[in-house]
């Protein structure tokens, strides 16, 4: 199954819930989790919000785990760095390689950072997986967040889907011609894909500009308020 975050955001039990509520809840929980810096609270938040996502919003567990995988991978790398390369305290473990050691304060940092971030993921996930981006942007606009930020968000959101599609198509085309058959060809294919995506994005941005201009774009994206019914 393909993981499509946007599709999930549009099709879950909490899609129609007031977006302001979700936005504020997320922000407050994030602040509290970061500020408290308490391991038990981190675990508590992680469990509670995961339950909200899985049980109340009824998002299937596979999608939720996929949502967590990529940021957790980054988190693990970050925390490993914190553990081995930071701190000034007492040495508690020597690896014996290039004098790399674990110190008591660096271990403390690593563990606390890991838990705090783990506590924050489901909070963000709660917003990202249950609320379509259009609604979030609308809220931000009504909360007087600068237009430029919202416009950039909107256009980026649009560009992401175009890119993902392009990458998907190109990758398949390369794969068809055995572009990822060996390590060496994988490197070459990935390189070609990256540079082509860059050129195509320039092309696409020009066409998008033409399309916007054709409909009387004035340099500012107007905000539409749908009819109340």
């Amino acid at each position: 199954m393909k993981f499509d975050m946007d599709y999930i955001a549009h099709h879950n039990e909490l899609t129609e819930t007031n977006p302001y509520l979700k936005l504020f809840l997320t922000i407050i929980l994030l602040i509290v989790t970061l500020a408290l810096d308490n391991l038990y609270f981190d675990v508590f938040i992680f469990v509670t919000m995961s339950i909200v996502i899985l049980v109340i919003a009824k998002i299937n567990i596979k999608s939720y785990l996929k949502f967590l995988t990529i940021p957790v991978a980054f988190l693990v790398i970050t925390c490993l760095f914190l553990m081995f390369f930071f701190g000034k305290g007492n040495v508690i473990y020597e690896t014996g390689i290039f004098g790399i050691v674990v110190r008591d304060d660096s271990l403390h940092y690593a563990v606390y950072t890991f838990m705090r971030v783990m506590g924050c993921f489901p909070c963000l996930g709660f917003l990202a997986l249950t609320t379509p981006i259009a609604k979030i942007l609308h809220c931000l606009a009504n909360l007087k967040v600068p237009r430029i930020i919202i416009e950039i968000g909107l256009l980026m959101y649009n560009a992401i889907f175009i890119f993902l599609n392009e990458i998907d198509t190109m990758r398949k085309a390369q794969d068809t011609r055995l572009g990822y058959h060996s390590y060496w060809s994988s490197f070459k294919s990935l390189g070609a894909l990256t540079s082509t995506i860059f050129l195509r994005s320039l092309d696409k941005s020009e066409t998008l500009q033409f399309a916007l201009d054709s409909r009387g774009y004035t340099g500012e994206l107007p905000l539409y308020e749908p009819k109340e019914d």
Partner: protein, 277 residues
């Protein structure tokens, strides 16, 4: 109504895409622009609302010249609506209704007026009920309809479509042709670039043929498809029914110089031939 005079445009010093194109579109017409890939069709279209500024030549609408200042551009972009070939290039908003509302909002209309226009435009293209959907979750044909609704909501006088049937399934092509026919009957002038020669005689009142940046022919489908040299220059062929009757003539049937272009013309002709023999 829409007039283009001696339009020239170069992308760079070696490549001149348009080499002096002049054409005139009358109110209420439905016109097909034919030409091979790279003939300059898209380039020409982007001149009609001032996206490209020509090196030489002018564009007029209702006798008024396009001046390339802000006011004149906005006016032209309201009157000349361009539907891009790839709907993904055109649709950018996170929901269908926001995308359709983009044009009318840029015209500075009131929110109620915009809401009415969005509703009307979506109903017109048969996409009512999709207002809150994300465009990237729609099928190709549906996206095309949304793209057309986005232009309709601006109430243009002339709608310009760049290969609107490209990438649609056969039923999608039929539905789209029917929609364009209806819009034309309601008074919108329509200019379409296309490769689908089989469909052209069904809807087009007039045909332009563009070859290497020059307009080499302008006439009714009957005129154009009766000139093999023009078709050859433009990498075109006659509609498949016409081809059939031309081949029948080689077998000894007398066509009296009149070859049917559409299925219904072909049916009549066929019955006539059958009755005669």
């Amino acid at each position: 109504m829409l007039e283009v005079k001696n339009l020239k445009y170069s992308y760079n010093s070696e490549y001149q895409a348009l080499k002096g194109v002049s054409l005139k579109v009358n109110k209420g017409e439905m016109i097909a622009l034919l030409g091979k890939n790279g003939a300059g069709k898209s380039t020409l279209f982007l001149h009609l609302n001032g996206i490209y500024k020509p090196d030489e030549g002018q564009v007029f609408i209702d006798g008024e010249e396009l001046k390339y200042d802000k006011k004149s551009l906005l006016k032209f972009r309201q009157k000349v609506g361009i539907v891009f070939q790839n709907p993904d290039d055109q649709i950018f908003a996170p929901t269908v209704e926001e995308d359709v509302a983009f044009g009318p909002l840029n015209l500075g209309l009131s929110m109620e007026e915009v809401q009415d226009r969005v509703e009307e435009a979506l109903a017109r293209v048969g996409m009512t009920g999709f207002e809150k959907k994300a465009p990237h979750h729609l099928s190709g044909g549906q996206k095309k309809r949304v793209a057309i609704a986005g232009i309709l909501a601006m109430k243009p006088e002339i709608m310009v479509l760049d290969e609107p049937t490209a990438g649609l399934d056969p039923q999608g092509v039929v539905n789209l042709s029917a929609l364009l026919d209806e819009l034309n009957e309601e008074g919108i002038t329509i200019l379409i670039s296309t490769h689908e020669v089989d469909l052209v005689p069904n809807y087009a009142d007039r045909v332009f043929v563009l070859v290497d940046g020059k307009l080499i022919a302008d006439g009714t489908p009957k005129d154009i498809f009766a000139q093999p040299d023009i078709l050859e220059k433009a990498n075109l062929k006659v509609p498949i029914v016409t081809d059939l009757f031309q081949q029948l003539e080689e077998e000894g049937f007398d066509m009296e110089g009149d070859y049917p272009l559409t299925i219904s013309e072909a049916k009549d002709k066929f019955l006539k031939l059958l009755n005669k023999n």
